[in-house]
């Protein structure tokens, strides 16, 4: 998945809450989206092509039949040529109509499918952004999906997990912070020789707590 925010060069620690659908962002997961779009479009084109050919073939047969009759009825008549060209024009117009209809169908269908698949790729893209942040230990707040997005149940599961992790991490940080403060208070009772390692350990834990707090946003 390509990151559409990458081009701006602005780091985004928390995915933006008010994502608007932009034309350039519609193909978020090309592999997933194009596969489905190609399948449905090719299938529709195949059905339309096959049935369109049948329509053309039937129409041509009718024209040929009429032409044969005209040949018998209008021997030496100049109007026959005119009729023949009218019939040929009718068949040609049918081909153009069907090609136009087919192309229109492909364009409209592809556009609709891009929008439809985007409603799946969008939530996946958003969740994968959070996954990237989690990989770096960042557990900032999660914003909801846009209206009309699919995979709401999946996103609900993710949000519930993320909030649980975040809550637990906040609680852990509070416990560690409290422990650091309590042990610093108690260091007066400790031998001078043991103070050094304890101070170092407490400083390290304190830094960890500060990092965790920063990561929690």
């Amino acid at each position: 998945m390509s990151d559409p925010t990458a081009a701006t060069g602005i780091p985004s620690p928390v995915p933006r809450s008010r994502h608007q659908r932009k034309l350039s962002n519609y193909l978020l997961d090309k592999n997933l989206q194009l596969r489905y779009i190609l399948l449905v479009t090719l299938l529709s084109a195949a059905i339309s092509g096959a049935l369109g050919y049948m329509i053309y073939d039937q129409s041509r047969l009718a024209s040929e039949s009429i032409e044969r009759d005209l040949q018998v009825l209008t021997v030496g008549d100049t109007s026959r040529q005119e009729f023949t060209s009218i019939l040929a024009g009718k068949d040609q117009a049918l081909v153009y109509e069907m090609v136009g209809l087919g192309l229109g169908l492909v364009v409209i269908l592809s556009a609709y499918l891009v929008i439809m698949t985007h409603k799946v790729a969008g939530p996946l893209f958003k969740v994968s952004n959070y996954f990237e942040q989690m990989a770096e230990g960042r557990l900032g707040p999660v914003t909801p999906l846009r209206r009309g997005d699919m995979l709401q149940d999946f996103f609900g599961d993710f949000k519930s997990m993320h909030e649980s992790l975040r809550g637990r991490a906040q609680a852990d940080a509070a416990v560690m912070e409290h422990a650091v403060a309590a042990l610093r208070d108690a260091r007066g009772q400790v031998d001078t020789a043991a103070r050094g390692p304890l101070d170092n350990a407490l400083t390290a834990l304190d830094q960890l707590v500060a990092t965790r707090k920063k990561q929690l946003g």
């Binding site: 049935l51 649980s164 560690m176 309590a182 108690a186």
Partner: protein, 263 residues
């Protein structure tokens, strides 16, 4: 042979519909669109086919069959053999209805003339052969029209069934990984960070799954980091004689919980 990190999950028809809303929506769209195209264009095909059949039937009817010899032609043909006027029976009333005089014919000079024209049988045969040929043509045209209809219905039904099965199978390759991730998310929500196994062969969302694994790994690394730092503090506190301090007890409890979560 399974690689490390693989689990022997097999696809089964029973659990193909993992995410009904997503899978059915995409499958039904594909099936519905195909059915709509098949129906719409099929009606058009049948309309043109009906027209073509009607034109062909009219064309065939236009080629008139030779007429069956009528009673008049039979009468006319009676004397046609030698070009003489047709013979009349002795008791046949004339044009004016008056009885004609009987004529005595010398038998020795009487010639036999046929009552039917010589091509009568050929003309009758030609007529009925043509009629039968036309009937056969109409039948063939009608069968051709029905053949198109049934071929389209059969193709449409097969297409709908095939597409429905294929659509469900295809969307399952996306819904499967999402389902698997959902199971891990549920475990993570409960504070369990079990080992993450690989996807099955043929599954989609491989990149997405890799990102999930990285996220899972990041959370596990956080836990290990916390455990290591807490262990340092506990060790230093023990060495300093603060092992029984309530804050150290809290840290031990926290560390134990974290260790259990990453087991």
């Amino acid at each position: 042979m399974t690689k490390a990190g693989d689990r022997g999950y097999k696809r089964s028809w029973k659990n193909l519909l993992i995410n009904k809303r997503y899978q059915l929506r995409f499958t039904l769209f594909m099936v519905g669109l195909s059915a709509l195209l098949m129906t719409g264009l099929g009606v058009w095909v049948m309309w043109v086919a009906n027209e073509t059949t009607a034109v062909s039937i009219t064309s065939v009817r236009g080629d008139a069959c030779p007429r069956l010899p009528s009673a008049e032609s039979l009468g006319a043909g009676a004397g046609a053999a030698d070009g003489s006027p047709p013979a009349t029976r002795p008791d046949d009333p004339g044009d004016d209805g008056r009885r004609r005089a009987n004529v005595q014919i010398d038998e020795s000079s009487m010639t036999l003339t046929s009552t039917l024209p010589p091509d009568f049988a050929d003309r009758v045969t030609a007529h009925w052969a043509c009629e039968l040929r036309q009937a056969a043509t109409f039948d063939r045209l009608e069968r051709g029209r029905l053949h198109i209809l049934w071929a389209m219905i059969a193709t449409g039904v097969a297409l709908v069934i095939g597409l429905a099965l294929y659509g469900i199978k295809m969307t399952h390759r996306v819904a499967g990984p999402l389902f698997k991730v959902s199971l891990y998310l549920s475990k993570m929500r409960d504070g369990r960070f079990d080992k993450v196994y690989n996807l099955r062969k043929g599954d989609q969302l491989v990149d997405f799954y890799d990102q999930f694994k990285a996220a899972h790994g990041g959370v596990v690394a956080m836990q290990h980091d916390d455990i290591a730092r807490i262990a340092q503090v506990i060790a230093a506190a023990d060495a300093a004689g603060l092992g029984q301090h309530p804050a150290v007890a809290e840290l031990r409890e926290l560390s134990a919980r974290k260790e259990k979560s990453v087991e």
